[in-house]
Amino acid sequence: MSLAKPAMRGLLGKRLRFHLPIAFALSLVAAAAFKYGVTEPRKQAYADFYKQYDTTKEFNNMRDAGVFESVRTTGE
């Protein structure tokens, strides 16, 4: 029984030609997924938060709760 001679050379090159484009594409997908899944929503969350952020109101709330050491609660 005579078998075909197996491939003896270029094995790494063949593997790289197959796997590198896939690896590159998957890395891009991972980066895009992180950008649009995590960073963009986070940026939006911060923007929305500060859109209706009333600094004075929040300050007074915190002051009344008694967390400050330099400012006394209102009414003292």
């Binding site: 986070r42 969350a45 911060y46 938060f49 929040e58 709330n61 915190m62 709760a65 008694g66 967390v67």
Partner: protein
Amino acid sequence: MLHLTTGRVGCLLSKQAVVALTGSGARMSSHGHHEVSDSVDMSQPMYWDRLDTPLPDRPWKDVLDSTDKSLKQKEKGPWTALSKEEKIALYRLKFNHTYPEMKRPSHEWKTVIGGMFIFFGITGLVVFWQGHYVYPPQPPTFDEEWQAKQLQRMLDMRTNPIEGLSSQWDYKNKQWK
């Protein structure tokens, strides 16, 4: 020679590893290198069954009887003249185990898992004893009341109000969202 010692040593651990290390000493096969002591003569060519190094320094059977010798003579001629059984016999002269035989599954995993769990258990007992006899008294910061006051303070100072802790608290209704 090495039958009893390797059998005893290898009973709990992998027999394969022990046999590989001690060569073919424990096996019931004929070989021309007679070890008088219980150790392998490493200055002589050795036989091994290894998946990663397929061709050992010497064939499995060194000492051939007359049938083996005649077969080896026949091997010197055209191999198409050999029958299937003769080819297999020649293989068995040269090698002890085939690759599937080398890779045969064993019951070793049960010993490994069992030993693992035994040591987990012993460690658990040690940890329990330690918690009772070694650890100092717990700091007050672990009390339920303290932890509640701590959480209230964190909410009061609005820690992580955008995506973190305080963002999950409903300040109007004083409850979690």
